[in-house]
């Protein structure tokens, strides 16, 4: 198999994986029970999706400079999303947004 087909196939697989993680992150943001869990979904799953997408693009990069620029974009996105998630959580704490606790499981009377 030629190198190009291999690279394209790997890029496609990485892109699909990235799309899956993005979808999972969005689903988590919509369906998790409170703000703090939703921020986990955004900061972790979306960042991993972005990392996989950038890895796919790195395989297709034309030059080292292009690859370095992609890496810089990824580093900036990771730092920004982590900081923003922290700031949002701090804001929610200041506004006394209640933290979701798992509902108690009632033991059956013996």
């Amino acid at each position: 198999m030629s190198l190009e087909i291999l690279l394209d196939g790997a890029s496609l697989a990485l892109l699909l994986a990235g799309a899956v993680f993005f979808a999972a992150g969005t689903l988590g943001l919509l369906r998790f029970p409170d703000v703090y869990c939703g921020l986990h979904a955004l900061a972790k799953a979306d960042t991993l999706g972005l990392g996989l997408t950038i890895a796919a693009l790195l395989l297709q990069a034309d030059s080292v400079t292009g690859a370095l620029k992609l890496g810089l974009i990824w580093a900036l996105a990771v730092t920004a999303s982590a900081t923003i998630a922290n700031l949002f959580a701090a804001l929610a704490r200041r506004r006394d947004v209640p933290v979701w606790r798992r509902a108690p499981v009632w033991r059956k009377e013996q």
Binding site: T79, T83, L87, A90
Partner: protein, 318 residues
């Protein structure tokens, strides 16, 4: 249906949907966030149309900086406790669907007209511009159009930004009890300071890179100025003392410098016996690069001034 057509159709539908939601939303914060998303979708659409320069400008200015200005205004409104009267459900449905239907009908008519236009086999100006690009010495056709062939339009754009700054200050109340704008807020969180400490130099570097690369690749003065304005907005939010308040003679000179330099260069061409804003082919490259530098700095100063806001009364919170 091939994949790119599907992608374009989805993008067009998303653009229309976010625009509709943003315009008809009662919560202002929701409207602003949807407006920012709409700007990003538009940038994607420009990319699909093969216009990376416009996409950069749309993302930086339309979505980024305008979004920041909207959010600051929203914060100001919230502190003054502006309250919207409640709206009955029937009136709300009528308003939203009425606006949506009207826009869809108008947009549909426009699309039908545009697609049915017969341009008689004309190819447009593109090939001619590419042929004559050697006159300008620029590798980027868009920059040569913006700053050489259609320099007059760019001059008017720069004047518009200057007028925006003058207009914003003109509408502000003035008097002895006014506090000058741009007073930094108190830093609230150490993480934010840490982040901005590291991001601001990178942001300045990105802005400088966008200005420099504008000659050969998508970029240019407006995009660089938008990035500088964004860096300033970040610095203000964290209360860094390094955010210069847009007062003082130096700042005002910088704000006017873009328009002044553009006009002076154009008039000097007149004095040299050429047409207004008609650069000679030998000196065009140097002139355009120098002009872009002054424009980037000046437009950055204008956008910083808009981000910092206007003088406020002492009793109001910053």
């Amino acid at each position: 249906m091939e994949a790119s057509l599907l992608l374009d159709a989805t993008l067009a539908a998303l653009i229309a949907w976010t625009a509709w939601q943003s315009v008809t939303s009662r919560e202002v914060f929701r409207a602003v966030v949807l407006f920012i998303v709409f700007g990003l979708m538009l940038a994607l659409a420009w990319l699909r149309l093969g216009a990376p320069n416009v996409a950069l400008a749309e993302a930086a200015v339309g979505a980024g900086l305008t979004g920041v200005l909207f959010l600051e205004t929203l914060g100001h409104l919230r502190r003054r406790k502006t309250v919207e009267p409640p709206e009955p459900a029937a009136a709300r449905a009528l308003r939203r669907w009425g606006v949506g239907a009207a826009v869809m009908i108008a947009g549909g008519l426009l699309a039908v007209l545009a697609l049915g236009l017969d341009h008689g086999g004309a190819v447009g100006v593109g090939p001619r511009i590419l042929d004559q690009q050697d006159e300008t010495g620029m590798g980027n056709a868009v920059t040569s159009v913006l700053l050489d062939f259609r320099g007059f339009d760019t001059l008017l754009e720069v004047v518009v930004v200057l007028l925006a700054v003058v207009g914003a200050y003109g509408m502000a109340p003035h008097g002895p009890a006014m506090r000058p704008p741009g007073v930094p807020r108190e830093p609230r969180q150490p993480l934010l300071r840490w982040f901005v400490h590291r991001l601001a130099p990178v942001g300045l570097l990105v802005g400088g890179y966008l200005w420099w690369i504008g000659g050969e690749a998508p970029g240019g003065a407006f995009q660089a100025a938008a990035v500088f304005g964004a860096v300033y907005a970040l610095l203000r939010v964290t209360g860094q003392e390094s955010a210069p308040p847009p007062q003082g003679v130096a700042m005002r000179l910088l704000i006017v410098a873009g328009t002044a330099a553009f006009l002076l260069l154009g008039l000097s061409m007149l004095a040299a016996g050429r047409a207004f804003l008609d650069w000679p082919a030998a000196a065009a490259h140097g002139l355009i690069v120098a002009l872009e530098a002054v424009l980037a700095a000046s437009l950055g100063a204008c956008l910083m001034t808009l981000v910092a806001g206007v003088p406020r009364h002492e009793s109001e919170a910053p």
